[in-house]
């Protein structure tokens, strides 16, 4: 029976090749998109899942509440905190401090291997870190390898890199920052791609220079602390001890902000909006949910297509239903027969979808800059998903048509008297309206995303971003002596317009906030974002003054420049009023000499912070070079060689400023692209469906059309008649879509502090697009119907 049904199904599919192609193609595109979304979501939700004690691992993070309502979050903790936590909390099995840092790694030349000199990210970790996280150790173990000072554990990859083979690494040394030699005492397996820890070089915590720091007042995002809860302890049990802990150590009455800590579960790290992580990969749940919703939309539109086409086609199968029924087929058997036909189509579509997604996977990897590899069959869960997809789609798409078709009365079916609207024309219309509503929502969403992204790209940030290169500076005292010489030599390079030493560009990932006093001995009730720069900074980045003048040349704190937001927060109306007032930051005192126009110091997601700008030679981390666009390539080569002659022990690193800025919106870029792609897929599927439906309607109304023609209707009138019902549906769909899209889009835009005004145009435009595509599709198809020979249609009866 099954075999025969399968054969019949295939023959039927072949007989209605056009419909089958539409069905299979629409479905497979939808399914392929779903598969891609699934692979993406699986990857994003798989972060940090593979540790044995994962459920009990928490990260201690910090936040500050300010009197003005602002909140500030940091993934770091004060450096003395881990030791204090270990001492005061009985609820933790293990506590581990881990410190992120960076510097020059040097590995001596080995036989057959050149010397290695590289700027690398390094970590100082307590042995307990590896008791909390069960890394696989290829050599050594946490309790021996990371105890003594000046020992280092390498990842397999790093060890292979430095010594050719990790087996040769043990006992060898690597040099850090031209100062200390570290002995390799252990090798651990590499972190997987889906890890929030990019640990390659791990020094023993005992080697960390400020390991005994007692400074509770300063928090760096580089100092993280992890705890392993004892079995049976809940995070909620920690509220009271944490309060006592805060009172004991961190009740600084003078600090402007009130500090607090949160125990953040390990599995939340990758999805956290407020806190970063070492691997700098994160994906908020909001975005994942957004994608899943798009996936469901896709699936729904594809299924609606299927239902529409299948019910439309049902009439042609009615005779078969009738005959089968009088031969003794039960309704249940017919339902299964039709369902298995749907399953067959779905299966074919799924195979095609696998091919399509395999083809697009490299594109998706590119989207992530190639640091992720996706594979269709790398994870067994994919098979479960595919199987689930097959079952769900078969039922979702097949059940209704199967119930309709199997429900035909045999007496009517045999006489071909099943009413043409047997499939419930009302239902079919509703489905089309839903489909178009989804399409319209996505069109609107895509338009708004595109607009906002171009707004971000083109918005003036208040400073120059083009043709500025940032070169990292070595910061040891010996190198600092060479800064002036470096500057002179750079100034002589052709194509360099201006040079500035600074701690950070106007807008940067690395930010430093600190308390200050203004015109009094008391700290202001908010903190200022500080930028430590030399006198050329303002010219290099094109910052504009609204009062006063730039800093004059100085190697120490002597004068201050502030931004508009800072004086607004101080409740000063006239910028000229602050000129000459005395400020004190980091123990340095001096007058304010200038006020700069506000510029965006964070990404456009966030508000502009109050900023204080001053000079202090010892804090410069990079040199910003404004270049002549015409000679950029040449100039940069010379800059590099100058750097290498002056600082031979260091590694030349250079970034273009505008590239850095793009990095702020990486998530948006990725999501924006995915959004655009999947929206076009939905639009495409919907219109395929529309075409199928109008073809069917046209065929069905052939006789009506013929009669109308005999009665004297013109082709144009007939096309108008066929168009109007569809246009109404599209209109209603748009009306449904507008409020829904408005809510979605409004929410998305709310994530940007600087955003476009939501106008009516994307909505109107969505309607125009959907309407015109409808008209084109329907007219194309109905023209053929209207032109058809009248006699052919009326002959048969």
């Amino acid at each position: 029976m099954f075999k025969l049904n399968l054969k019949i199904a295939l023959r039927n599919l072949w007989k209605y090749k056009g419909y089958t192609a539409i069905n299979v193609f629409g479905l497979s595109i939808g399914l392929a998109s779903c598969i891609l979304i699934f692979i993406f979501v699986r990857y994003q939700t798989s972060f940090d899942q593979d540790y044995a004690n994962g459920d009990r691992i928490y990260r201690v993070v910090s936040f500050w509440k300010y009197p003005d309502g602002n909140e500030f979050f940091s993934q770091g903790v004060p450096q003395p905190l881990p030791a204090a936590v270990r001492n005061d909390f009985s609820q933790f099995e293990k506590v581990a401090a881990i410190q992120q840092s960076g510097g020059i790694i040097k590995v001596r030349a080995l036989p057959g291997k050149a010397e290695i000199k590289k700027s690398e990210q390094v970590f100082y970790a307590e042995p307990s870190f590896f008791e909390i996280f069960d890394y696989k150790w290829l050599a050594g173990n946490p309790n021996q390898s990371l105890i003594a000072p000046n020992t280092v554990v390498l990842s397999e990859k790093a060890a292979n890199n430095y010594f050719g083979d990790w087996r040769k690494a043990i006992g060898n040394t690597i040099n850090f920052d031209n100062q200390t030699d570290f002995k390799v005492t252990g090798v651990v397996k590499d972190n997987p791609q889906n890890s929030s820890f990019a640990l390659e070089i791990i020094f023993s915590y005992a080697s960390f220079s400020t390991k005994y720091s007692k400074n509770w007042g300063s928090v760096s995002s580089s100092s993280e602390c992890y705890v392993l809860l004892k079995k049976g302890i809940q995070v909620s049990d920690l509220t009271k001890p944490l309060q006592q802990f805060l009172n004991k150590y961190e009740n600084d009455k003078d600090a402007p902000g009130k500090v607090g800590h949160i125990f953040q579960p390990l599995k939340g790290i990758h999805h956290s909006d407020d806190f970063g992580n070492f691997a700098e990969k994160y994906m908020p749940y909001k975005q994942i949910i957004g994608l899943v919703i798009i996936g469901l939309f896709l699936l729904l539109t594809a299924c609606i297509n299927f239902i529409n086409l299948a019910t439309a086609q049902a009439i042609s199968r009615s005779k078969e239903v009738g005959v089968r029924k009088v031969m003794g087929s039960r309704r249940k058997q017919l339902v299964w027969q039709f369902l298995s036909e749907t399953a067959l189509i779905t299966f074919i579509a799924l195979l095609l979808a696998c091919v399509l997604s395999e083809l697009t996977l490299p594109k998706m990897e590119n989207l992530f800059g190639g640091d992720v590899s996706f594979s269709l069959f790398g994870h067994p869960i994919i098979f479960v998903f595919l199987l689930g997809l097959l079952v769900v789609v078969s039922f979702l798409a097949g059940l209704y048509p199967a119930l309709v078709m199997s429900g035909f009365s045999p007496a009517l079916a045999i006489k071909n008297k099943v009413a043409a609207n047997a499939g419930g024309i009302g239902l079919r219309k509703t489905l089309v309206v839903i489909q178009f509503a989804i399409t319209a929502i996505l069109i609107i969403g895509t338009l708004v995303v595109i607009k906002q992204m171009s707004f971000i790209r083109n918005k003036s940030l208040g400073f120059d971003t083009q043709a500025i290169s940032l070169v990292s500076l070595p910061q040891d005292s010996l190198s600092q002596l060479k800064y002036n010489g470096f500057k002179e030599r750079l100034g002589a390079v052709k194509g360099v317009k201006s040079i500035s030493f600074c701690s950070a560009a106007p807008s940067a990932n690395s930010n430093n906030e600190t308390s200050f006093t203004y015109n009094s001995s008391k700290s202001a009730d908010f903190q200022a974002n500080v930028k430590v720069v030399d006198e050329a900074y303002f010219k290099t980045f094109g910052l504009q003054f609204i009062a006063g003048r730039p800093l004059s040349k100085s190697d120490t704190i002597k004068e201050f420049v502030v931004n508009e937001t800072l004086i607004k927060k101080l409740n000063v109306k006239d910028p000229n009023e602050v000129i000459g007032k005395i400020m004190k930051i980091w123990g340095g005192t001096g007058p304010i000499v200038g006020v700069v126009k506000d510029f965006n110091n964070y990404s456009l997601h966030e508000k502009i912070a109050p900023i204080a700008i001053f000079s202090r030679k010892t804090r410069y981390t990079s040199v910003a070079i404004k270049l002549d666009v015409a000679e950029m390539g040449n100039t940069m080569k010379q800059v590099e060689s100058t750097f290498n002659t002056l600082f031979p022990d260091f590694v030349y690193e250079n970034n273009f400023f505008d590239e850095n800025l793009k990095g702020f919106y990486e998530t948006e870029q990725i999501m924006g692209t995915l959004f655009k792609v999947f929206a076009s897929v939905v639009i495409f599927i919907s219109f395929i469906g529309l075409f199928g439906l109008i073809s069917f309607v046209a065929t069905q109304r052939t006789k009506e059309i013929a009669i109308r023609k005999v009665l004297g209707a013109s082709n144009l009138e007939l096309i108008k008649m066929l168009n109007s019902s569809f246009l109404w549906m599209v209109l209603i769909a748009n009306m449904v879509a507008w409020p829904v899209a408005y809510i979605f889009v409004k929410n998305w835009l709310a994530g940007f502090e600087y955003r476009i005004d939501l106008s009516i145009w994307p909505f109107v435009f969505a309607m125009i697009i959907s309407m015109s595509i409808t008209i084109i599709t329907v007219t194309l198809r109905s023209y053929r119907a209207a032109k058809a020979n009248t006699i052919d249609a009326l002959k048969y009866e």
Binding site: L4, I8, R11, E320, V323, R324, K325, M327, G328, A411
Partner: protein, 226 residues
Amino acid sequence: MIELKNIEKYYANKGVKSYILRHVTTSIKQGEFVSIMGPSGAGKSTLLNILGMLEEPTYGEYHFMGEDVTAMKERQRIELYRNHIGFVFQAYHLIDEMTVAENIEAPLLYKKIPGAERKSRIADILDRFNMVAKKDLFPNQLSGGQQQLVGIARALVAQPSIILADEPTGNLQSAQAEQIMDLFKKLNQEENITILQVTHSEKNAQYGNRILTIEDGVIKEDVTVK
């Protein structure tokens, strides 16, 4: 075999009842060959549909092989289809996507007859109808008469006790029609299969041994053919 008592069928439309059948009472015995005749719209087809349980009477009693059809559940009715009733249609109603052999096989599948027996029965009947060479053709590759032969073969292969035929020769030319009617007669006489046909043709009606004439939903005549 079939007992009809006071069968009525009407459609109520805005309170007005339009009758299709009125007070139809009759019985048909095993082995009879009955022709139902009458003008268009008299209710012949409706009566046949009721007999074939494709439609339900509005009122009245219907016993098939001693069982009350009106009280039957869907499941029991389907069992009757599988084991006792074979249908032959004016428009043949072969399944277009199935070959001749597959069309004939279909009812056997529903009867859950094992594969080997299915094969032999199909081979048998194809042989009997001289259609072995055509077994892999599709219906649209056959002439009308051949299609109707397949239709009858399909009805017969499940070995029913009664065949219900709605104008089985209505779409056929006279030579082919004669062939079909001869076949019916032979089946009736040699295999004692009850046959009930609706027909317009006086000539075809003569093949049977009893004629029911219906006019305006009422049985006007019930004559036995000599």
